[in-house]
């Protein structure tokens, strides 16, 4: 049986840890916390991955919890979203050292819940308890211009995530829906609303192709959504000439409490989820399921009490094949853990 093997436990945060985010290419992990800091972690040596150390602590820029941290696609910048209603932009000296907060983006009325860079690095999205999603254009000299303020969610927006290749944004909300946002001649608009979850949608992630989304909810289920473009061969109606997203699989009966985070590996296609029931689970698509419109997914590995008795708030797969089997998790215990997915021999 496949299993998750604990590689390392990283101690240092002084409060619950909310999110983990891997550098796009290096073995560096960024984590953010209620202690108002971001910590950067790296293995102590290039050959021994069981010993990790905190290589930098980014602090002083936020007055309240840092809820979300995201690397730019080059890995030269970090964005931090805080309950203090600002987004911080951090830049390093080029050696990956001496991070400095070079810009602060203001505008949201209250807590910012999530921040994400587009695949090209030219756009940044933020979302807030003020129910809005903001899209920012990244300009030269650490200048950011707000292109759009999207106000169609009726409640707190929990997370934003970009399509891996295209400038398509997805947002997940306390209003139980996911919305898909696209641009049409400088105007951003809601292209689809994904309904099905019966409580807060806390997290979502695209697969490597960007044709599928997995979402995680307080309703204790994960849903897998597929995009159907106009004139699709399946005959799914696309009334507005827009692609529509439909649930093709619901994973229920696995987690016993709210699912706070989900990560879809771009390397091997595995889905990892983290829950308030203290467990991490890994799901794989059944090889036997041939119908692309009704796939089945099976839980192939799990760790109960992965952070002891504490909620697990975030999971993130390593983004490249260099360490595609690595999974980072963060919890209410203030700890960061690195796991390795060990498949059958």
């Amino acid at each position: 049986m496949p299993r998750l093997e604990l590689v390392a436990t990283l101690e240092g945060h002084q409060d619950r840890v909310w999110q983990a985010s891997w550098h796009p290419s290096k073995t560096i992990l960024a984590t953010c916390s209620g202690d108002k800091t971001v910590r950067l972690w790296a293995p102590a040596s290039h050959s021994n991955f069981t010993h990790w150390q905190c290589i930098d602590t980014l602090d002083g820029a936020h007055k309240r919890t840092i809820r979300s941290v995201a690397w730019s696609p080059t890995g030269n910048e970090l964005a931090t979203a805080s309950f203090d209603a600002t987004t911080g932009i951090w830049e390093s000296d080029g050696q990956g050292r001496d991070w400095e907060c070079v810009a602060t983006l203001e505008g949201h009325e209250n807590e910012i819940k999530s921040v994400a860079w587009s695949g090209s690095g030219s756009l940044l999205a933020t979302c807030s308890r003020d129910k809005s999603v903001w899209i920012w254009e990244v300009e030269a000299d650490n200048d950011f211009e707000c292109l759009s303020v999207l106000q169609e969610h009726s409640q707190d927006v929990k997370m934003v995530a970009w399509h891996p290749q295209q400038e398509i944004l997805a947002s997940a909300s306390y209003d139980d829906t996911i919305k898909i946002w696209k641009e049409d001649e400088d105007d951003w608009y809601c292209a689809d609303t994904l309904e099905g979850h019966t409580s807060t949608v806390w997290a979502l992630d695209f697969d490597a192709t960007g044709d599928h989304i997995v979402s995680a909810s307080d309703d204790q289920t994960l849903r897998i959504w597929k995009m159907y473009k106009p004139n699709n061969s399946e005959g799914v109606a696309t009334p507005n000439g827009e692609a529509v997203w439909k649930t093709i699989c619901t994973l229920s009966g696995y987690h016993e409490r709210c699912i706070y985070s989900v990560s879809w590996s771009k390397v091997n296609g595995f889905i990892a989820s983290a829950s308030g029931d203290n467990a991490i689970r890994v799901f794989a698509k059944d090889e036997s399921s041939q119908d692309p419109n009704a796939p089945t997914y099976t839980s192939i590995a799990d760790v109960q009490d992965a952070h002891g008795v504490h909620d697990i708030n975030g999971v993130a797969w390593f983004p490249t094949s260099a360490h595609g089997d690595w999974l980072a998790s963060v919890g209410d215990d203030g700890l960061v853990r690195i796991w390795r997915l060990v498949l059958d021999d």
Binding site: R16, D156, Y174, G276
Partner: protein, 168 residues
């Protein structure tokens, strides 16, 4: 002042004299397993003060022993409370006070769910959702004004059902 109160004339209930745990020899014996039960949770929250009256949640019948379910083995606590009136705008604050009290007092292993009793509040679904969203609870507790109000309500919590000694 009284015109601004949400519920100016709440019904006041007598403290139930018989609802105190009888101290047994086992309770003082550290070698005997002493699981958390509904009585313990009730004792923790019964003397929380109402945000707008100098009365406890027990005196206002907001919290009752029968509406607490504890599963010590599975580490679950469910507290249902009854707002004094169905449109009580203090319901979220009262629920937050109960949550904070249990957060501070119960062992970390417990997962706590807090809800208004079914049918006792017109915004039941919205209040329940907010009280059980830990991100919003965390954000609320970073608000120093709100935290101060919560702490005031919790100042009497340690009475655990005993009558307050009147101050002068």
């Amino acid at each position: 002042m009284s015109q601004t109160l949400i519920n100016a004339n709440p019904t006041v209930y007598n403290l139930s004299k018989n609802s105190h745990r009888l101290e047994t020899v086992d309770a003082f014996d550290d070698s005997v397993d002493d699981p958390i039960d509904a009585q313990e949770v009730f004792d923790l929250i019964r003397s929380i003060s109402d945000p707008e009256h100098p009365l406890t949640l027990e005196q206002l019948n907001v919290t009752q022993h029968e509406h607490i379910v504890v599963d010590d083995v599975r580490n679950r606590v469910l507290v249902e409370f009854t707002p004094t009136i169905p449109h009580c705008s203090m319901a979220t604050l009262i629920g937050l006070c109960i949550r904070v009290r249990l957060l501070r007092s119960l062992p970390e292993r417990f997962k706590v769910d807090i809800r208004v009793r079914k049918g006792t509040h017109q915004s039941e679904v919205a209040v329940n959702k907010q009280l059980n969203d830990k991100e919003r609870v965390a954000a609320a507790l970073e608000n120093s004004h709100l935290l101060e109000v919560v702490n005031q309500c919790l100042a009497t919590a340690s009475l655990r059902g005993r009558e307050a000694v009147p101050s002068h």
